[in-house]
């Protein structure tokens, strides 16, 4: 596992070489056009066209059997008065802040602690990273065992004399959402750590050297050298986190299905159950559009950054 860090991004840390361009005035050959068009067509069939349809379906009432009936913005006005939807929206924001914020803090903190090569670091990195390779469903089942009545969580509380706190963690509306966020965080921190380790690796050591010569202490170097240098990685991490948060579905579905009484319902789970369990396909599409609008701002930010220095 000691290879974990040095491997972190030789290829991209090398920096862009001068762009080599072929100067040919003539049109690209048919083969090249096919190289682009075939993948583009595949993505169009399975992504672009469905996305457009999704917007249209959100303006319809549809049970999946009869053809959809156009009802304008009816679904959206219904959403505005739907308490379950509002709860899911609030939970999604809580998810975004807690899951997103804590995984950035945790991942960054771990990356700072583990950036320097020293004995044991490879093992610690590997330990934190291991859950990242598991599916969220595997993660969910691991933690379900932990949360079981008389499971590890309860045993630990009993051991430290806090048994009055014991409750059915996933079945109590007060705790269900947080009991689901915890395993999601457990898995995400290792991922964010790897992103930051790559970013830290790419910082020119001469900058730290210069700051040290100028008498900057560790905290000042973190503030004035490391953090400004990580601006690019920060933008990516934030985008990834927001997109991941809005997509979060698996772990909630595996642990609580959004219950009890919608207390751990996210927009993504509500959308799925509205569409595929209540068979309200138009209404489900409208929830999906809301998720899309929330994600849009982030996606645009990400793309602008990705293409600023791009050909």
């Amino acid at each position: 596992m000691s290879t974990l860090a040095p491997a972190t991004f030789r290829t991209s840390a090398a920096g862009p070489t001068p762009k080599q361009r072929r100067r040919r005035a003539n049109r690209p050959s048919p083969l090249l056009v096919a190289f682009v068009l075939v993948p583009f067509a595949v993505e169009s069939i399975w992504v672009f066209w469905p996305a457009l349809q999704g917007f249209y379906f959100s303006l319809t009432r549809w049970d999946g059997l009869e053809p959809p009936t156009f009802i304008g913005f009816g679904n959206y006005t219904e959403l505005a008065g739907d308490a379950v939807f509002r709860g899911a929206l609030v939970n999604t924001v809580i998810w975004l802040v807690l899951f997103g914020g804590l995984s950035v803090l945790g991942g960054f903190g771990m990356a700072l602690l583990l950036q320097r090569e020293r004995r044991g670091v490879g093992f610690y990195r590997a330990a934190l990273f291991t859950p990242v390779v598991f599916s969220l469903v595997v993660t969910a089942l691991v933690w379900r065992v932990f949360y079981q009545p008389d499971g590890l969580a309860d045993q630990l509380l009993r051991a430290v004399g806090l048994e009055q706190l014991i409750r059915p963690w996933l079945a109590d509306p007060q705790t269900a959402l947080y009991a689901v966020i915890l395993p999601a965080l457990w898995r995400q921190i290792g991922y964010v750590m790897v992103l930051y380790l790559a970013g830290l690796k790419a910082i020119d050591p001469a900058l730290h050297e210069a700051a040290r010569m100028d008498g900057a202490n560790a905290r000042q170097r973190l503030r004035h050298v490391t953090i400004p240098q990580l601006r690019g990685v920060n933008a990516v991490v934030l985008s990834v986190i927001v997109i991941d948060s809005l997509r979060s579905f698996d772990i909630v579905w595996a642990l609580t299905h959004g219950g009890p009484y919608h207390s751990s319902e996210l927009l993504s789970t509500y959308m799925y159950s509205a569409a595929f369990q209540s068979l309200r396909l138009g209404y489900g599409s409208a929830i999906a559009v809301v998720i899309f609008i929330l994600a849009l701002a982030v996606i645009l930010g990400y793309l602008v950054r990705a293409f600023r220095e791009d050909a």
Binding site: L4, R21, T130, V236
Partner: protein
């Protein structure tokens, strides 16, 4: 002295954290080897008082994990291969030639991958019903390829763009066409990026739940991730069997990770430093 103390504190703290991360995993592995009677008598929170591997047999055959694993591989291997081939072709043409509108095409393709999948679920499930692909593994492969392509193309584009141009110039002068340049010059140089994306996309597709339950319905066709949820319903309070099923579902991605560790981590960071 202070240095030794600080090192000691570092290792103590990190060991505790590592335990927090590995502990739940080890607990589940231990649980998977306990008998039902042991769990019934001592509870899920107790240390093992028994040892059996029969739980694995139950999960493997009675729980249908064997079939689920086969389904997973039948989906994951072709989906990874197809995605990488198509993405490499697109990235090659877009990065090495002046295709008109190449920026917009690349941007659109990446944007497609960043879409929240929820907006696609209903149309994709209806489209696969319409084409007769609903409830077939082919539908799952197709949607995985379509949805992943944008990201893979974007990453490979960034990689190929930075390759030096001399060899391509030389090959062009020797009369090689784009097909030959792709296969003989660019593709061999792109191997590290392909390995990284391959390892990464394997775990993503293998671990997927949402697309599988959107385009598949029959239990027999479910890959291992959704099948694990089914197992939970089938063996409601047999925590040992559920734990064994969880271990089985986790092993393939863990093996890929251990085998391609370096590529895997570099793949995750590819997006970050770009």
């Amino acid at each position: 002295m202070i240095r030794a103390l600080r090192t000691g504190a570092f290792h103590t703290g990190m060991s505790l954290l590592a335990l927090l991360w590995l502990g739940p995993i080890l607990w589940v592995v231990a649980m998977s080897t306990r008998t039902f009677d042991d769990i019934a008598a001592h509870g899920v929170g107790s240390l093992p008082h028994s040892f059996t591997l029969d739980t694995y047999r139950q999960a493997w055959t009675d729980g249908g994990e064997l079939r689920a694993l086969i389904n997973s591989l039948l989906v994951t291997v072709p989906a990874v291969a197809l995605s990488l081939v198509l993405a490499a072709l697109a990235a090659f043409a877009l990065s090495r030639y002046r295709i008109p509108g190449r920026r917009v095409i690349l941007l659109l393709m990446l944007a497609g991958n960043l879409l929240p999948p929820q907006i696609l679920l209903i149309p994709v499930s209806k489209f696969s019903e319409l084409t007769g692909l609903y409830d077939t593994l082919a539908a799952l492969i197709a949607v995985q390829v379509g949805f992943g392509l944008g990201f893979y193309t974007f990453v490979l584009h960034g990689f190929m763009r930075d390759l030096p141009g001399e060899m391509q110039e030389a090959a062009t002068i020797d009369g090689a066409g784009p097909g030959q340049i792709f296969a003989r010059v660019i593709l061999p140089l792109t191997r590290p990026a392909l390995a990284a994306l391959g390892a990464l996309s394997f775990t993503w597709i293998f671990n997927d739940l949402l697309w599988a339950i959107t385009v598949l319905r029959t239990d027999d066709k479910m890959p291992v991730t959704p099948a694990l949820l089914g197992l939970q319903g089938q063996f409601v309070s047999s925590w040992n069997v559920i734990a064994a099923g969880t271990v089985i579902a986790a092993v393939p991605t863990l093996l890929v990770f251990l085998r391609f560790q370096r590529h895997f981590v570099s793949g995750l960071a590819l997006g970050a430093v770009k």
